[in-house]
């Protein structure tokens, strides 16, 4: 199993690469990579998105193609025409607009698919551990919420069953009241008990020191620089380099304040995870893909307008994108204990 931070880097790399390209050949490679990595690395007991990538592609691609074809009346190859008096959709329906819409749908599918894999392969406890030390109080809230969810879900089922026995059926929003209110009141009663238990264990004894004024001022300055730079980047094209500098400065200041605040928080980890060679290899693969996405922007770019032509394919860019396939190569499947009748163990690090 790879580190959660490595998986996050992998998903962000897929996001950046997919966003940088509209070339359907590279996008399809990315889609295949996410499918292979998902099928190789997901253990089956991970969290599944409400919508599978396969269903997503079947919805996103036709819808996006249809929307773009109906609203963009540009391109040389006219398929048919809608009456001009129809607002927005009236005009020529072109093959180029249809293709561009389909490519947008494919790009969205890659992003969705990459984060579906991320959700399936990273345990919730690993994600919770990513909480910066500066936000330790938020981490406590998150841990409590995650701990209470199974119990709350059981209570929800119990309440629904009890109401169903009384003949209650959910037909409209009004019928939610006998389900939601007992759930909330029961949850608040449990909160009361938990709060008392935490006070009894001395949680309230921590000193309530406010942040020094200097750090607050730095944070405010960082936020102003970040958002000011962002607005300037969007609306003042002449100030672009200055705007980027302001954004970098702002983000750095925020990072410094978060780091300094986190230093003052004591942090202990029970059974911390060790960084392995598989993590390093995956990071190298992601850096390779990111380098290609950043340096080959023009080669990655493709537009079907005004006349659709076959997209170009550069094998070196294709190889660079294959850097995202590293997790599938370095991670071996967990043995299924049911199927093999033995203990399911992760195989030893092959490297």
């Amino acid at each position: 199993m790879l580190d959660a931070r490595v998986w996050l880097l992998w998903a962000v790399t897929a996001l950046i690469t997919a966003s940088s390209s509209r070339n359907p050949l590279y996008i399809i490679i990315l889609l295949l990579i996410t499918a292979v990595v998902g099928s190789t690395c997901a253990t089956g007991d991970g969290r599944r998105a409400p919508l599978s990538p396969l269903r997503f592609v079947m919805i996103a691609v036709p819808l996006s193609a249809l929307f773009n074809a109906l609203t963009v009346h540009f391109g040389d190859t006219t398929l048919f025409r809608l009456p001009a008096w129809l607002p927005l959709i009236g005009g020529a329906i072109t093959l180029e607009a249809l293709a561009f819409g389909a490519m947008n749908g494919l790009t969205l599918t890659v992003i969705f698919s990459a984060f579906s894999v991320f959700n399936q392969v990273t345990p919730i406890r690993d994600l919770t551990r990513l909480t910066p030390r500066a936000f330790h109080e938020g981490g406590v809230v998150l841990s409590i919420a995650l701990t209470f969810i199974p119990q709350t879900t059981r209570n929800l089922s119990r309440i629904r069953e009890a109401q169903a026995v009384r003949g209650h059926r959910v037909r409209s929003v009004r019928d939610w009241l006998p389900i939601v209110m007992p759930l909330i009141v029961g949850g608040l009663e449990r909160a009361m008990g938990l709060a008392e238990a935490m006070v009894a264990r001395g949680y309230g004894a921590i000193s309530d020191e406010g942040q020094p004024l200097r750090r607050q001022s730095l944070l405010l300055l960082g936020l102003l620089a970040l958002f000011g730079g962002w607005l300037a980047y969007l609306f003042r094209t002449r100030w672009r380099s200055g705007a980027v500098g302001a954004m970098v400065l702002g983000a750095s200041l925020i990072a410094v304040v978060v780091g300094l605040t986190g230093r003052s928080v004591q942090h202990t980890v029970y059974r911390g995870r060790r960084w392995t060679s598989r993590d390093t290899l995956t990071v190298v693969g992601c850096i390779l893909t990111l380098a290609v996405a950043m340096t080959q922007r023009e080669a990655l770019y493709y537009t079907p307008y005004p006349h659709m032509e076959l997209p170009q394919f550069d094998p070196f860019i294709g190889l660079g994108i294959l850097g995202l396939l590293v997790p599938a190569i370095v991670t071996k499947r967990l043995d299924d204990p049911e199927r093999h009748g033995g203990k399911g163990v992760e195989q030893a690090d092959p490297l």
Binding site: N68, I149, V180, L188
Partner: protein, 249 residues
């Protein structure tokens, strides 16, 4: 309390899956808005952000959209807190005038340590009417945030979207032109979807609002207590610290 309310609110997403609702309707916004209204802007903001984060962790909804969802839901809770303060202040003002005119009885507030001064109208007896009016205000607020949520979330992908020139963003266009194009894009692509969320929020607050506000206000009073012992001033601070723990729980 925040953690447990976040858990309850996140579990409501399972209801959304079990009983699919039209368009962008989700039952998680009504608890965020009502909790923000009762407990204040800070609590509402945290409730909004943590509800979206926790539910995304559970249902596998982590993605580039998540920070936008968290911030927007947080802002809904934050502004609900401001709304609560405004409504409380205005009703307090009205009631001061009414009680002053009729009976000469002034305000009765909870102990200052509660952090919340609540009003009991002894002379007018308009509690039911006041409850109805604030639920109505909350319904309108929920409706507006149903639309605003979609309008803000769209921004994370809109600048990168291809489409008609009068609906897409291009570098260098001014703020006015950007807003005009975004307005056109929003009406064409999102308005119908978001209307379902807006109507759903209003309906859910109409149904759940009154009992939920009462329940949360009751628990707010239970959580915010202060024991003033003779000759033991240190207990005040102890219980304030305890209240902080309860807010986390």
């Amino acid at each position: 309390m925040l953690g447990v309310l976040v858990a309850v609110s996140s579990v409501l997403r399972f209801l959304e899956v079990a009983f699919p609702m039209p368009g962008g309707f989700s039952p998680i916004f009504a608890p965020i808005i009502i909790a923000g209204y009762v407990f204040g802007g800070r609590f509402g903001y945290l409730m909004g952000t943590f509800t979206l984060l926790t539910s995304a962790l559970i249902i596998g909804g982590v993605g580039p959209w998540l920070p936008y969802q968290m911030f927007t839901a947080g802002w809904a809770g934050l502004t609900a807190g401001w709304l609560g303060q405004t409504v409380d202040a205005s009703s307090r003002l009205r009631s001061t005038q009414a009680t002053g005119l009729r009976t000469g009885v002034g305000l009765r507030t909870a102990p200052s340590s509660c952090g919340v001064s609540y009003f009991t109208s002894q002379a007018t007896g308009k509690t039911m009417g006041a409850t109805r009016s604030r639920i109505l205000i909350l319904c309108i607020f929920g409706f507006i945030w149903g639309l605003l949520y979609g309008a803000i979330i769209n921004v994370y992908f809109w600048p990168f979207t291809g489409g008609p020139a009068d609906q897409t963003w291009t570098p260098g266009i001014g703020l006015g032109e950007t807003l005009t194009r975004y307005g056109a894009f929003y009406v064409v692509t999102s308005l119908a979807w978001d209307l379902a969320r807006a109507v759903g929020n209003a309906a859910l607050i109409l149904v759940l609002g009154s009992p939920m506000v009462k329940a949360l206000e009751r628990f707010r009073r239970r959580f915010n207590f202060e024991a003033e012992g003779h000759g033991a001033p240190s207990r005040r601070s102890t219980h304030r610290e305890a209240a902080k723990v309860e807010a986390h729980a």
